[in-house]
Amino acid sequence: MLTNFLSYGVDMQIPDSLLMLIPLLPFVSSLILIFVNPPKKIVTLLGVGSVGCAALIALLFNISLWGQTDYVIKAGFGNWMTIDKLVINFDFYLDALSLVMISIITGVGFFIHLYSTGFMDEDTDYRRYFAYLNMFVSAMLVLVLADNMLLLYLGWEGVGLCSYLLIGFWYKNRDNNMAANKAFLMTRIGDTGMAIGLFLLFYQLGTLNIQDMQTQAVAVWAPGSDLQGNSMATLCCLLLLAGAVGKSAQLPLQNWLPDAMAGPTPVSALIHAATMVTAGVYLIARNTQLFQLSPDAMFVVALVGTCTLLLAATAAMVQNDVKRILAYSTISQIGYMFLALGVGAGSVAVFHLMTHAFFKALLFLSAGALIYSVHHEHNIFKMGGLLKKLPVVAASFAVGCAALASLPFTSGFFSKESILEKIVDSGHTELWWAAVIGAFITAFYSGRLFFVVFLGKMQQEPNHTPTKTMHIALLVLIVPSIFAWMQPQGLIALMPGLPSKGLSDLQHWLPIFTPIAALMLAFGLYRANFFGSELKSPALQSIHQLLKSGWGFDFIYHHLFVLPFKWLCHINRNDIIDLFYRRLEDTARLMHGFVTGFQNGRLRSYSASLVLFCVLAISWVVLK
């Protein structure tokens, strides 16, 4: 096959049908791993190789489409179902947006797979792990390549299922099972909203094909038409948003993600940082034209993003568990993406999605290496002084934290700056301030995390050193975490933003100095031994407690929804409707007893009842 490609020469033209191989390769590999039990080497080869090949094909597409902005590639497996107006095909659609997505999924995915070979080496369920992980990659690719909403929904639920299976991968532990259930159910709530949105869209627009939907929506709900149309557009957008907030762990469905850290760390890197949780961002970016028809829905998106980014960032400040810090920071960074989407800057949102995928994957993988090295310890206050012992991990952690804090000349800096700039362009000054405050907090907790883990006195000696494959994955991911400075040009053509208004000096310089100031503050507090020390005032303690629980959402939902639901189900355990039939049964038995009472074999009572009957009958006749 490779010679085939090469024969196309420098001006490479790739057959469109190659697109179908990208999701198919990991899918087939996953099926093989489910049904066959090959030796471990073959498992590795299949698991990593299939994603590697998919990444290569994605790379070929990148090369052949390099420099072009306006391109669309279509390929399909044929029809899924056709009834009347409902025509659903297994068709894939590649444009600038999906190209960025498949490059992230296969590229980052490949290195995470490679890393996993080291991380999961001693696990007895090595094969099952790769089967799930391959299945996930394939479902995620279907999600971003789907040309209609139903196929997207297939990928959408597929990634949810794989996420569930991988969170509960170590299935013997009840806590892991519960975390998996929670993740699945909370996202399912959003998904159901989204499904209802699909029904509504289907009847409003007469199609579920994504591109047709956009043109139809503009035709049906064009700005300036009657109010009814616009409120319908808002309703449709909000229902889609329900799906997006569920998958992307945004307010009010955000609290499954910190618990989802129960899964193996490479899974957290791939699913719960780089790819699946950004599916909501993709969904909204994919339906940009639809959302632009409803300014109200756009504002809700921006508001959800802003609230989530602040809420999650404040929660991240006080966590002890390294993975939970990263989980909250993921929620917060996706909040930035939603904010960008909400102010109509889809291309910038996807740019941040991309840089975030790099540096957050890097952070999670180095956190995994860290945990792997120090006796599976998650608490950052039981680590410390690991800079010299784990130099590669420390370096990649430093790069990841710098990018997360958006220090100048890292990838995160450029994407976050662009978001802030676009917020200014949209004229929402209050959201801009919230985003800057969020950036301050982000840099602060990134600093706290790095300083506490790597500086100071050594708490415990590392007992493992990360394997070579783990190191390779880390070192490779460092490169794009620093140097992904440019947003893909195709995105701008696809989602043109608002015209630039220009920034004032404050708006230009404040975001640049904010992270530096925050890091200095964090360092100062670290030197003063503030982190991890007991808080004096009870008021501060309770605030700390509130933040640590992620603003108490678990508690609220437990009492508001879970307990009443359980109570309602439990009081009706014996099925109240069945009770009616059982009473019917009792009545029949009672009557039976009553009537058989007469048949007692005593002549006396027979003759008595005979006389009684005669008297009654005669008197009835007479009196009548």
């Binding site: 489910i34 009834i83 139903l150 299922l161 299935y171 399912r188 289907f202 009847y203």
Partner: protein
């Protein structure tokens, strides 16, 4: 004679199986297997219907004289809908046989007689196009099923069997009355005395009485479905029935209710159906939620799955009365997909009970450590029952919901919440049975050590894997199934719109 032979093979096969027990208790199951395989011969040629451009009205039409004085005929006929359901019956008959293979040791001859006769009765229901004949088969499938539960069931089998019989018999009585009413009213209005479906369907009866007759039929069918508030026989019957009977009950017996609605109620009483649609949609919507909530709190695995059936069959009812093509297609798909996925779950419970001697969710757990193959298949069907896209159940539920959203958006929203609740009970099955640390019963069976617990045998694995394949096929390529019934359903809808 093709359809008649389809009915006669299991009827005669059953008697032979019964008699063969005298020679060897192992013979009956082989006889049953042979007659079930033989049943495929008459239907095989009709698989070519999948490739037809235009479906004919009837694939086979066999009118025969029976009681000419009352113009009652033995009219058997098969169209796309009947064909799909007959295939389902035959396939699930084999599954039931496979699950009974080693489980049934007592009075094997009589068991297989009842099994085969139930299947014959169900196929008769799907093929009879004369209402009187339909009623006869409707009763024929009950008695052997009653015996299956009452003789080979679990602890509380007498009670469950009796309850099953009473509910369906009450429904049957209602149907008999409505049937007589229908024929008399039709005679008054058109002066044609006929029990023949094809005649009755041409001139749907009108008037107030027609409304009540339609209600009578509908109630008779939804008792079988079962829909709220007539569902409570199902959990008892399922829990107590032997695995094979549970399979047949879930896979095909419940489907006769949905079949009756689509075949008789909608085309024969288009006006009345429209009038009762809001009520039926309410029952369906509430039923979906209610069944799922009941499933959530069950401790007995079989009871849980039985309640999940109530929830799933709510979608069938929803689809039938939404009166549009998407929803009706969805209802048919749901009957097929639910038939396969739920009976697979019952087969799995049967295997678990056989190995660990319990169905109590609190005593199970951690099965993945001991029987990984069985658990993986269980995971698959658990996921299927929560409506994962790519499997038949999703196509069905999606179509039903899309269809009913057109006219009844709020009922649809209520029923759609069943997707969330469905996830809850499906995850409970997976969580409490296959994941987690080993449960009490799972541990003891290991400690005993005497009887080593084995993973799925080849027979069991093959049965289940075939069901996996069918369900996936229905999920990714449902078109052939839908084309089979498309023209019929369109005609039904056209009647309703007139």
């Amino acid at each position: 004679m093709i359809l008649l032979s389809l009915l006669l093979i299991p009827l005669i096969g059953g008697i032979v199986a019964w008699y063969s027990e005298r020679f060897n208790p192992d013979y009956p199951r082989w006889v049953a297997l042979a007659s079930l395989i033989l049943c495929w011969v008459p239907v095989l040629p009709y698989f070519s219907a999948f490739t037809l451009e235009q479906m004919p009205q009837w694939l086979v039409d066999e009118p025969m004289r029976w009681i000419p004085r009352l113009n009652i005929t033995a009219h058997l006929a098969m169209d796309g809908l009947s064909f799909l359901l007959v295939i389902l019956t035959l396939a699930m008959g084999l599954v039931a046989l496979s699950s009974a293979w080693t489980e049934i040791k007592k009075r094997t001859g009589f068991f297989y007689l009842n099994l085969l006769w139930t299947l014959a009765g169900v196929m008769g229901v799907f093929l009879a196009m004369d209402l009187f004949l339909f009623f006869v088969f409707w009763e024929v499938m009950l008695v052997p099923m009653y015996l299956l539960i009452a003789i080979w069931g679990y602890e509380n089998r007498q009670y469950a069997a009796f309850k099953f019989f009473m509910f369906t018999q009450a429904g049957g009585l209602l149907m008999l009355l409505s049937l007589a009413g229908l024929v008399i009213l039709h005679y008054q209005q058109t002066h044609i005395l006929s029990f023949d479906y094809t005649v009755l369907v041409q001139n749907p009866i009108t008037g107030d009485l027609a409304y009540w007759i339609a209600v009578g039929f509908t109630v008779a069918f939804i008792v079988k479905l079962p829909a709220l508030p007539f569902h409570s026989w199902l959990p008892d019957a399922h829990t107590q029935a032997p695995t094979a009977a549970s399979v047949i009950l879930a896979a095909v017996l419940l489907k006769t209710g949905g079949y009756g609605l689509i075949r008789f109620v909608l085309p024969l009483f288009p006006d009345a159906a429209k009038a009762i649609a809001p009520l039926m949609m309410t029952i369906a919507g509430v039923g979906v939620v209610y069944g799922a909530m009941m499933a959530f709190v069950q401790k007995d695995l079989k009871r849980l799955i039985a309640y999940s059936s109530v929830s799933h069959m709510g979608f069938v009812l929803l689809g039938c009365f939404a009166m549009n093509i998407y929803a009706l297609q969805g209802a048919v798909m749901q009957m097929l997909a639910h038939g396969i996925s739920t009976s697979a779950l019952f087969v799995l419970v049967g295997m678990i009970q056989y190995r660990f001697k319990t169905r109590d969710l609190d005593k199970l757990g951690g099965l993945w450590q001991q029987v990984p193959r069985l658990s993986a298949i269980g995971l698959f069907f658990g996921v299927a029952s929560l409506g994962m896209p790519g499997l038949g159940n999703f196509v069905a539920e999606f179509l039903v919901l899309v269809g009913s959203f057109e006219k009844y958006p709020w009922y649809t929203v209520v029923a759609a919440s069943g997707l969330i609740l469905g996830a809850i009970y499906s995850l409970i099955i997976i969580y409490k049975t296959f994941f987690g640390p080993r449960g009490d019963s799972v541990q003891t069976s290991e400690v005993k050590g005497a009887a080593e617990v084995t993973d799925t045998s080849n027979r069991e694995a093959t049965t289940l894997l075939v069901m996996v394949v069918i369900l996936v096929y229905m999920g990714v390529h449902p078109q052939p199934f839908m084309d089979m019934v498309q023209s019929n359903l369109l005609q039904t809808i056209a009647k309703g719109l007139l």
